[in-house]
Amino acid sequence: MSILVAVLIVLGSFFAFVAALGVHRMPDFYMRMHAATKAGAFASGLMLLAAALHFGTLRVALTALAILIFFYLTTPVAAQTIAEAAYRRGVKLWSKSGVDKFAEDLSKNSDPNGK
């Protein structure tokens, strides 16, 4: 069990590092947000699984499950909100990204007095 916990700790910290590396290296705001959101949530999930396995009690397992559920519920909401705000404020996409579905959506059903 200790070996499994150690492997999960190393994997979780590695994915946290991958998330930070994506935030550091990606060429575009939207890609950075994507990297931070997905890999960061996965890293926290691995760390919480390691904690639940290490303690092995119901109380810690339920706390870890509650943290995981809240984190996985709130992270996409935060990412979607910040991405939509950035798009509406005119943050540019990467020059090599080819598809912009949100612009098509906005031009399709644009009402004159909406936000």
């Binding site: 150690a6 190393v10 910290s13 590092f17 705001f29 810690v60 943290i67 705000a85």
Partner: protein
């Protein structure tokens, strides 16, 4: 176990450094908000690591608080930054 904790600490410190660099130089305010959100997530992971290393299960409650508060901060910043100069409310 000790080696794993050392490797994990190294990864976490490197991740914090990279995210902090993006929060400092980020071209737009949105980059800074995303980097600070990621720093909050990494701090949550570090608290979980502390609770495993020092065998204190109660530290997970503070991780729970951090997961809630970092989300609220990000959404508040998004709503604030979405306002233009001419808009009111």
């Amino acid at each position: 176990m000790t080696i794993a904790v050392c490797i994990a600490s190294f990864f976490f410190i490197a991740a914090l450094g990279l995210a902090l660099r993006r929060a400092v130089v980020g071209p737009t305010p949105f980059d800074r908000v995303v980097a600070l959100d990621l720093i909050g997530g990494i701090c949550l992971c570090i608290i979980v690591l502390f609770s495993i290393v020092f065998d204190q299960g109660v530290l997970l409650d503070s991780a729970f608080a951090i997961s809630l508060v970092s989300f609220l901060g990000t959404v508040a910043f998004a709503r604030y930054l979405a306002l233009g100069e001419g808009d009111e409310k």
